[in-house]
C-alpha cells in the first residue's frame, strides 16, 4: 500500500529471492496506476497477509534472523505495516530478532519430562562446547528425553534424539550436525500388534510411499465417503459418538453438522497439528508414521462439510513430520486424491501446510486462525464460534490430528460398529503418551475404559519397580494424581467425575525420588512463558503464580501465598479469554492439594 511508511533498510539478495519465490504465483501487493480507490488495493493486501508467517520462516531460514531489511522488504511486497509485522515476528520463539552469533541454534527441551533426564546438564555441556543454546518448552519427544531441535541457517532443521531416556549427549548432537540426517523418532512399542486402529500402519508401512499406503487400505475410506455423500458421512461420524481428542472432547459429528449447515461460503477445514501440550507426542507419531492417513482424513472432513480448502497447521518444532506431510500432500495430488476432481468426482479440495513458529497458544483454535491469517497468535473472544466465524471470518471446522484419523476407521467399520468399542459415550480407542519413569515410554493405543494402572503396566510399569509419587494426567493443562487413582477407568465420564481430565492423553509418571516442587514450578513457568499477553488475568496472573511457586521451591513462601494461588486460579478461570488462562492453574493447584510441595513447606 502506497500510503504505508516503510523503513529504508534493504534486504540481502538472498532474502529478496526467498520472498520473491514465495510470491511468485500471486505477485506483490502494489497498487496499480488505474487503481485510485483503496478498495481493490485493500483486497489484495488481505489476500497476501496470510503469507506473512511463511515469509518470516523464509527470512529466518535464509539469514538466521528476522533482519530489518528482510522484514521491510516483506512488508513492502505484502502491504503490511512494519510495526505490525514486527509485532507478529516477535510473537514466536523460533524467530530471532538479533543478528545470529552462530549458524545453528540448539533448542534443548528442559520441560517437565526432559528435566528428569539430564536436560540441564546437556544444556551446560553444549554451551561448554561452544554451541548457541536456548532452553525450550516441551518439544514433543518426551519418550526419548532430553530432546533437541537444531534450528539452522540456510539448511533444514534437525532433531536429535537418543536411543532411550537419559542418553543424549553433546557428542550425539555433534554427530547429528555432521551427518545432517533427520532421525525418525516414532516410538510405538505396540507396533504391528493385532487390534490397533490409529496406529495400525505406524512403523509398519513406509510413510513416504503412497503405494505402500494404498496396499494397507489407503484411500478406501475416502472412496467410500465419495460414494455415500457428505450427509451420510456426518451421520456415520455422529453415530460413532466420536469426540475431539485435542483435550476438549467436543462431539465431532455436531461440529461438522453445524458447519455443513452454514449458508456462508467459502468454508474451511483446519487440522490443528500444533501439538504443544507438555508431555504430548501422539499427533507427531501419526504424522511421522502415517502421514497419508491424516491427508485422507482431512479430505473426507472437507468433503463432508463442503470445504474446498484445507489448512494443516503444524507445530514448527516437527521437521520430520513437516517433510513427510509435504511429501504426502504432493503424492496425493499426483495420484488424484487432492486438487480438482478428486478420484474422478466433482469434488475439489486442496491442503495448505502452515508451519507454526514456537507458540503453545497457537494450538488454541482462534489463535491458530489469527496465526494463519498473518496476525499475532492471540485468541479471539468467543462467541462467535469457529463454526460461523472461523478462519478469515468464514465458517470453519477445526479438528485435532487424532480426531480426524479416527474418521477413517469409522467409515471402514461403520459408525455403529465403531461405537461398540470403548464405553458409553467414550467410544473408540485413545492414544496415550507414556513418559517419565515408565519402562517403555512411547505412544500406546487403548480402547476407552482401560484403567490407569493397565495403561502404565502395558508400558512395562515403573522403572526399577519404584513407588509412584505422582502422575501428570492430561498434560500441563491437566492435573496431578497419585496412585489412589490407578483404578480409574480412562473414560471421559469417569475422569470428569473424578475431577481430572484425559486432556491430550498425557500419562507422565514420577517416582518417589523425583523433585516434584521443581516440576510444578516448571509447569508454572511454562504458562508464564506461553501466555500470549493479551488479557490481564493470564498475562500477569501466570507471572504471579510462577513467583509463588518459586518462593515455595526456595522454601520462603509468604503466609498468604496459598490463598493467593487459589484466588489467582479462580480469576484466571473466570476472567481469562481462552483455555490457556482457564487451565493454567489446574496442575499447580492439584499438586498443592495432593501435598506434592510438602518437602519444602
Amino acid at each position: 500500500m502506497s500510503d504505508l511508511k516503510f523503513g529504508t533498510e534493504e534486504p540481502t539478495a538472498e532474502e529478496k529471492t526467498a520472498i520473491d519465490e514465495l510470491l511468485s504465483e500471486i505477485g506483490p501487493a502494489e497498487i496499480k496506476l488505474d487503481e485510485r480507490f483503496v478498495v481493490s488495493g485493500r483486497t489484495r493486501v488481505k489476500d497476501r497477509r496470510r503469507l506473512l508467517l511463511p515469509a518470516l520462516h523464509e527470512l529466518q531460514n535464509t539469514s538466521g534472523w528476522i533482519s530489518p531489511g528482510g522484514l521491510n522488504y516483506a512488508c513492502k511486497v505484502l502491504g503490511i505495516p512494519p510495526a505490525e509485522a514486527y509485532g507478529v515476528a516477535t510473537f514466536y520463539h523460533l524467530f530471532s530478532h538479533e543478528s545470529p552469533e552462530a549458524k545453528d541454534l540448539i533448542h534443548v527441551c528442559d520441560d517437565v519430562a526432559c528435566r528428569l533426564f539430564g536436560a540441564e546438564t546437556l544444556i551446560e555441556d553444549l554451551k561448554d562446547s561452544g554451541h548457541k543454546v536456548k532452553p525450550s518448552p516441551c518439544l514433543g519427544q518426551c519418550e526419548r528425553a532430553p530432546s533437541v531441535l537444531i534450528q539452522r541457517t540456510n539448511k533444514k532443521d534437525l532433531t536429535a534424539v537418543a536411543e532411550s531416556n537419559n542418553s543424549l549427549t553433546a557428542v550425539n548432537i555433534e554427530q547429528v550436525l555432521t551427518s545432517e540426517t533427520l532421525t525418525p523418532q516414532m516410538t510405538v512399542p505396540q507396533k504391528g500388534s493385532e487390534g490397533l486402529s490409529l496406529l495400525s500402519r505406524v512403523g509398519v508401512v513406509d510413510p513416504e510411499s503412497i503405494e505402500g499406503y494404498m496396499k494397507f487400505n489407503g484411500y478406501d475410506a475416502l472412496k467410500k465417503a465419495l460414494t455415500i455423500g457428505p450427509d451420510k458421512v456426518i451421520e456415520e461420524v455422529t453415530t460413532s459418538k466420536l469426540s475431539g481428542r485435542g483435550g476438549a472432547a467436543f462431539p465431532t459429528g455436531v461440529k461438522w453438522r453445524a458447519v455443513a449447515d452454514q449458508v456462508g461460503r467459502p468454508r474451511h477445514l483446519v487440522c490443528n497439528a500444533d501439538e504443544s501440550e507438555p508431555g504430548t507426542f501422539k499427533d507427531r507419531t501419526i504424522m511421522e508414521g502415517d502421514p497419508f492417513a491424516l491427508i485422507e482424513a482431512m479430505t473426507i472432513a472437507g468433503f463432508s462439510i463442503g470445504a474446498e480448502q484445507g489448512w494443516l497447521y503444524l507445530r514448527g518444532e516437527y521437521p520430520v513430520a513437516a517433510e513427510r506431510l509435504e511429501n504426502a500432500i504432493t503424492e496425493s495430488r499426483k495420484n488424484g486424491f487432492l486438487g480438482e476432481n478428486i478420484a474422478g468426482t466433482e469434488f475439489n479440495f486442496d491442503i495448505h501446510l502452515y508451519k507454526g513458529a514456537g507458540a503453545y497458544i497457537c494450538g488454541e483454535e482462534t489463535a491458530l486462525f489469527n496465526s494463519i491469517e498473518g496476525f499475532r497468535g492471540e485468541p479471539r473472544n468467543k462467541p462467535p464460534f469457529p463454526t460461523t466465524h472461523g478462519l478469515f471470518g468464514e465458517p470453519t471446522a477445526i479438528n485435532n490430528v487424532e480426531t480426524l484419523v479416527n474418521v477413517l476407521s469409522i467409515l471402514t467399520l461403520g459408525g455403529d460398529k465403531y461405537a461398540m468399542q470403548g464405553t458409553g459415550n467414550s467410544t473408540g480407542t485413545r492414544l496415550f503418551c507414556l513418559s517419565g519413569r515408565v519402562v517403555n515410554p512411547g505412544v500406546y493405543e487403548h480402547p476407552f475404559g482401560i484403567t490407569l494402572r493397565e495403561v502404565i503396566e502395558t508400558a512395562g510399569g515403573v522403572v526399577n519397580s519404584k513407588k509412584i509419587k505422582a502422575i501428570l494426567l492430561g498434560g500441563a493443562a491437566g492435573s496431578f494424581v497419585t496412585s489412589n487413582y490407578l483404578d480409574l477407568p480412562m473414560t471421559l465420564e469417569d475422569t470428569r467425575e473424578a475431577g481430572v481430565s484425559l486432556g491430550s492423553g498425557v500419562v507422565m509418571v514420577f517416582d518417589e525420588s523425583d523433585d516434584l516442587p521443581d516440576t510444578v514450578r516448571r509447569i508454572a513457568q511454562f504458562f508464564r512463558d506461553e501466555s500470549c499477553g493479551q488479557c490481564v488475568p493470564c498475562r500477569v496472573g501466570t507471572v504471579r503464580q510462577e513467583e509463588v511457586l518459586a518462593r515455595f521451591t526456595r522454601n520462603a513462601p509468604f503466609d498468604t501465598d496459598e490463598e493467593l494461588l487459589e484466588d489467582l486460579s479462580v480469576v484466571m478461570k473466570d476472567a481469562s479469554i481462552c483455555g490457556l488462562g482457564h487451565t493454567a492453574s489446574g496442575a499447580v493447584l492439584s499438586a498443592i492439594n495432593l501435598g506434592l510441595l510438602e518437602r519444602t513447606r
Binding site: A83, R376, G533, C535, R539, E547
Partner: protein, 287 residues
C-alpha cells in the same frame, strides 16, 4: 446515486440485569445496557470511539448458564439473558484484575474514573510482594521529540493506542503490540524512535490512554516539576481554525497557558480524534 441498503429491522429483546427486567435493542452489548441503566461498570480497554478488544477484563459480568464470566463490553445481549453485574464472583474478578495491574504497572497517573474504580474495589496488591521483588514493567520513559512522552511503566496494554493509530482512527499503523506474554509491549518496528517510524504525531494515542503512559511533553514536564495542577485548569471549548473541517477543540489552560488539547469523544466531527495541527499547533496563541 448509490442506493443506501436498509438493514434488516432490529427486534427488541428483554434481559434481566441485577434482578430488573429491561428492554434493549438487538445487538446492544451488555455494557450498553449497563450504561443505559446507570450501572457503573469499570472499563480500561473499552472506549466509545474504538472497537472493543475485550482484553482488560475489568468489565466482566456473570451471565446465567455461562461457565466463565463474560466481558460486557463486547458481548451482545441476548433475549432472556440473566445478568449479574455485582455478584461476589464479579467483584472478586474485577478486584484481582485491578490488583494484578497495580502490582505490575504504575497506576498513579490514571484517569480519575480509573482511580475511583480502584478505590471502589478496595484494590490492594501488597500480598503479591514488594515491587522490587516481583516482575513489573518498570523502565525509563521514552522521550524522543518535543511533543510526546511514552512512559511505558504506566502501560497496562489496553491496546487503545494501537487501535487509534490503526483502523479505528488514523490508519497510520506506527505502533503495534510486540513480544509475548508479560514481555508484550507497545512498539514501533524494531523499536525505532518515533520520528523514524510511521508516526504522524496526531496525538490520538495520547487522547485514548487511560493511565498516563502516553502524555503531552508539556504535561510530562510539568508533572516532573510538580507544577501540574488539574484542579486549577480551565477547559475552553472552541473550533480548530486550521482548516474547514470544523473539529471541536478543548483547550486545557493552566496559569493562562495552554497545557493540553483534547476533543470530546462524542463529537460528531472528530469522535475525539484530531490531527497534529489541532492537537499541537497552539504555540502561536501564547507567543
Amino acid at each position: 446515486m448509490n442506493e443506501i441498503p436498509v438493514g434488516a429491522p432490529r427486534s427488541q429483546i428483554e434481559v434481566q440485569i441485577d434482578g430488573k427486567q429491561v428492554k434493549a435493542v438487538e445487538g446492544a452489548t451488555i455494557l450498553n445496557i449497563c450504561q443505559k441503566e446507570g450501572i457503573d461498570t469499570p472499563t480500561l480497554c473499552w472506549a466509545e470511539n474504538l472497537t472493543p478488544v475485550n482484553v482488560c477484563r475489568v468489565c466482566v459480568v456473570e451471565v446465567e448458564g455461562s461457565r466463565t464470566l463474560v466481558p460486557s463490553c463486547s458481548r451482545p445481549a441476548e433475549d432472556g439473558m440473566v445478568i449479574s453485574t455485582d455478584s461476589d464472583r464479579v467483584r472478586k474478578s474485577r478486584k484481582l484484575v485491578f490488583e494484578l495491574l497495580d502490582s505490575s504497572v504504575d497506576m498513579d497517573r490514571s484517569t480519575t474514573e480509573v482511580k475511583e474504580w480502584m478505590e471502589h474495589y478496595e484494590v490492594d496488591s501488597s500480598r503479591m510482594g514488594s515491587k522490587n521483588e516481583i516482575a513489573t514493567v518498570a523502565q525509563p520513559p521514552k522521550i524522543q521529540d518535543s511533543l510526546y512522552v511514552r512512559d511505558y511503566e504506566r502501560c497496562i496494554l489496553c491496546y487503545k493506542c494501537v487501535e487509534a493509530c490503526g483502523e479505528d482512527a488514523q490508519y497510520t499503523f506506527a505502533i503495534a503490540t510486540a513480544g509475548r506474554g508479560f514481555d508484550a509491549h507497545i512498539s514501533t518496528e524494531f523499536d525505532v524512535s518515533l520520528p523514524d517510524s510511521a508516526c504522524v504525531y496526531c496525538g490520538n494515542c495520547i487522547g485514548v490512554c487511560p493511565t498516563g503512559a502516553l502524555v503531552f511533553k508539556t504535561e510530562h514536564d510539568m508533572r516532573e516539576e510538580g507544577t501540574w495542577d488539574e484542579e486549577t485548569q480551565e477547559v475552553t471549548t472552541t473550533v480548530c481554525s486550521f482548516c474547514g473541517v470544523g473539529c471541536n477543540l478543548e483547550l486545557h489552560v493552566q496559569d493562562e497557558k495552554i497545557v493540553k488539547v483534547t476533543s470530546p469523544a462524542d463529537h460528531s466531527v472528530t469522535s475525539g480524534h484530531l490531527c497534529i495541527k489541532g492537537r499541537f499547533g497552539w504555540q502561536h496563541v501564547q507567543s
